[in-house]
Amino acid sequence: MSRIYRALAPVALAAAIAACGGNDASKSAVPASPKAAPGATKVDPSTAGTITGKVVVQGTLPENAAINTSSDPACGSGLHAETYVVDKGGLKNVFVYIKDGLGNKYIFDTPTEPVKIDQKGCHYTPHVVGVRTTQPLEIINSDNTLHNVHGMPKDNPEFNQGQPVAGMKNDFTFAAPEVLIPLKCDVHSWMNAYVGVVDHPYFAVTGDGGTFELRGVPPGTYTVEAVHEKLGRVSLPVTLGAKDSKELTFSFKAQ
């Protein structure tokens, strides 16, 4: 009998490793309370202002590559990378947020409704999203094929969740602020998306015309940062008075 046990030991070891592997996305991020100092207060809406602006690019951007989807017929055809999306002279899909200046003077309610990313046509929609710490990020598989959702954060736990069936949804949460977290599908190597995680509500993703708007910002001096998946980061200082409104223009250099 002991021989049998010895023979089965490696199998048992493999099963044990499989059982305790770090691959369960639902446990991938441990919720934590957003930091706030004792005596911190909510932002007074009567004094809050707005930061608006635009992201532009100097130089000529490369064309987005056409994607060969022949490895999976369910993906259709005609896809292009979304790395550089220029609209009316502005750059879309840039994550803009207040990087410094808020300190821990304010308390912010964390939304409970999830931010959603859909996988449709082997393509993430939207390509860039922002989410608050501990707020759920819901990723949906609307395709009639398999996807794996592989998050590759540095300050939060990595995860890799299979979604083999159309209609599957998984929620992911991030305990620590991190800008940007890449998401990819290893089944379809061209699929990627980016998530900006911050612990306050002052963030946006540039849309039409490369514009953005941060509303309800309390008076103060801040560093606002714009982050693009390939072009990197650009920071600008801004000082906002009570009920003030400021406009910023972030300029990236084409590489």
């Binding site: 490696p10 490895s71 794996n148 990595e158 890799n160 299979g162 190597s189």
Partner: protein, 333 residues
Amino acid sequence: MEDRPSRLAPRALLWHHRYATLVAACVVLLIAAGGMVTSTGSGLSVPDWPTTYGWNMFTFPMSKWVGGIRYEHTHRLIASTVGFLTIILAVWTWRVEPRRWVRWLGAACLGAVILQGVLGGITVLFFLPPAVSIGHAGLAQIFFCLTVTMAVVTSPRWRHPESPVDDRTLRTLATITTAVVYIQILLGATMRHTNSGLSIPDFPLAFGHLLPPVWNAHIAIHFAHRVGAAVVTILVVATAGHVWYHHRCRRGLIRTVTALAGLVAVQIALGGLVVLTGKAPVINTAHVVNGALVLGTSLVLTLRTWRAAGLEPAAVRVPRPAANPPLGAEARP
């Protein structure tokens, strides 16, 4: 456990040797499949292990073998097949092999393939940590070497050498070459799993110079692999030159070192192409597979040089199979 007489006729032992050779060939196929997984970046396209998207891996529908899954799942199936073949090899060896150390060699093959499977699972479940992935790549070559050794030492030529090579210099050269080739493969695996493969973007120069003008960890790993290639080339040329000069009448040795030199030349060309094509998956995989063949060929040469050095005690040699007597021999007095 002692050496024991063989239970089987020499012809059955010949089949055992052929089977061991088949297993070694299947390991090359497995290494190729593993090379395609990493070359296409498909290592995490199946997030679970030992299941495949919740299915038992053997019942995972073929219609779902899409994108990167095709490479990763095929690798797992070939690995399972090789595991099964290795179980048969170990049991067969244990039952028929008269030499104790060869019986344990069969057991070592089985142990290595089990450990290799577990390492493969761990690296998937923990998102390809470089140390584990490099260990997986390194153990793959150890497992290949074990099966090659099994094929060599069960061969009729090994059991009944006409006149084993007894050349201490060649023995030393061949042994060092095999060890250095293995270290070079480990360096290659480190380069691959730390994404350093294109850290030096040109070939044969490095950023247009003989030595890289800038350094970081990735460039250092990449450059170490290039230096390793030069060292391997020097050793193989020295070994081949020694054999061509001192053993030109031994056709078996000449064939082996010629093949080794040819494989190294191909390997250098493939290494250059890996860089120049920006790591094209097929070229990248061919480089991995050819590297295994360099190691295997060097090992075969090394084993042959040790044959006469007491690796195999004469007392346990298996009786030579009866050759067909020449026509009319019985009639001679």
